[in-house]
Amino acid sequence: MLQIKRYVRATSLAEAYELNRKKSNCILGGGVWLRLSNRRIDTAIDLSDLGLDQIEESEGEFSIGCMATIRQIERHEGLNAYTSGAVRDAVQDIVGVQLRNMATVGGSLFGRFGFSDLLTVFCALDSYVELYQGGIISLREFANKPYDRDILVRLIVKKTPLACAFACVRNTRTDFSVLNCAVSVQGNRALAVVGARPMKAACYEGELDESFPERVASSLSFGSNLRGSEAYRRKLCAVLVRRALEKAGGKR
């Protein structure tokens, strides 16, 4: 059961960062995942008053505040036009509308959860995270960084010309993915990101040819859990990469 002693609405990122340096304190995202944990939190730090719940689009990029909800990115016309609906495809089956109205982009990405569909799709794009202390680093680098007490302020998605798509398999529609996959294609190069292995998203980049899906499947590691075995996931991987490539128009 989650227990919270004190709740603070931060008035600045500096205040939030100072409070979050203490290990027993915690930044609140949507609070959805946190709610299921068995933790004692001294101070829950809410970033809701910092204006970080917007998605801003400029000529060269999208800037997504950490408190923007998953539903906001699902419905954002510009983001979905740029990704040919890949972002919407990745999030639209995450539980229900009510949960997606609460879960935040920052909370989902900062957790770097193995099951995350969001991490997978954004890793396939030219994405960066802005950290309060750590500055701007690529999302792929962030995904492999150890957990620390920094704050993910926003996600930046550059409008690099590429074709992308998302594919996944779920045992039931709103369950976690058994395996998820996002691809992006630039010329004859392709990047495949595979998540829910059940470990977190991992990348494979290479020349786009007939053997690309099999190369992805044989290069990445997979594991077994209640949703699927390692062998099943490896088979699934090549199929999903192929499907995603076809969807992205990079059919091979």
Partner: protein, 156 residues
């Protein structure tokens, strides 16, 4: 800490514990339509509107609703009764436990998308579980309700 929540149009100011959920808060103020089902954000029984957006009150801290408008089924008697009667007509309420959450989310769907397709209905209501009915009755009720509402609007 002290919060002020505008629950169904009533301003309520009181002390709440930082880990009290909005579900517990609204129920303690008589909104018993809001149920605690799975408590793991999967079933949709605890759906309320926070500033007109459907959210799961079992996963929302009451302190985060400070200075905000919260609406439960009790605050939407006309809309709830209108749509609820279609659920009853179509035999879509067997035990009835899931109905308040479903009605809230269906109202949110009608406000956002007045003419949803079957696929849009299924996707929007995917977070509302019903263990009795298999969803056929709910589907019929939603489509019948949309037809009735449209013909009513045309008449006016």
């Amino acid at each position: 800490m002290t919060v002020t929540i505008f629950l169904n149009g009533n301003k309520i100011t009181e002390d709440v514990s930082p880990d009290e959920t909005l579900l517990s808060f609204v129920r303690s103020h008589g909104c018993k339509s809001v149920k605690c089902g799975c408590e793991t954000t999967n079933c949709g029984l605890c759906t309320v509107f926070l500033e007109d957006t459907p959210v799961l009150s079992c996963a929302l801290l009451a302190v985060r609703a400070d200075q905000k408008k919260v609406t439960t089924l009790e605050g939407l008697p006309k809309e709830a009764e209108e749509f609820g009667s279609f659920l009853a007509d179509q035999g879509a309420e067997q035990c009835g436990f899931c109905n308040p959450g479903l009605i809230m989310n269906a109202i949110a769907l009608f406000r956002e998308n007045p003419h949803p397709s079957d696929e849009e209905i299924k996707r929007y209501l995917a977070g509302n579980l019903c263990r009795c009915s298999g969803y056929e009755g709910q589907m019929r009720a939603i489509k019948e309700f949309v037809r009735w509402r449209d013909s009513n609007e045309q008449r006016q």
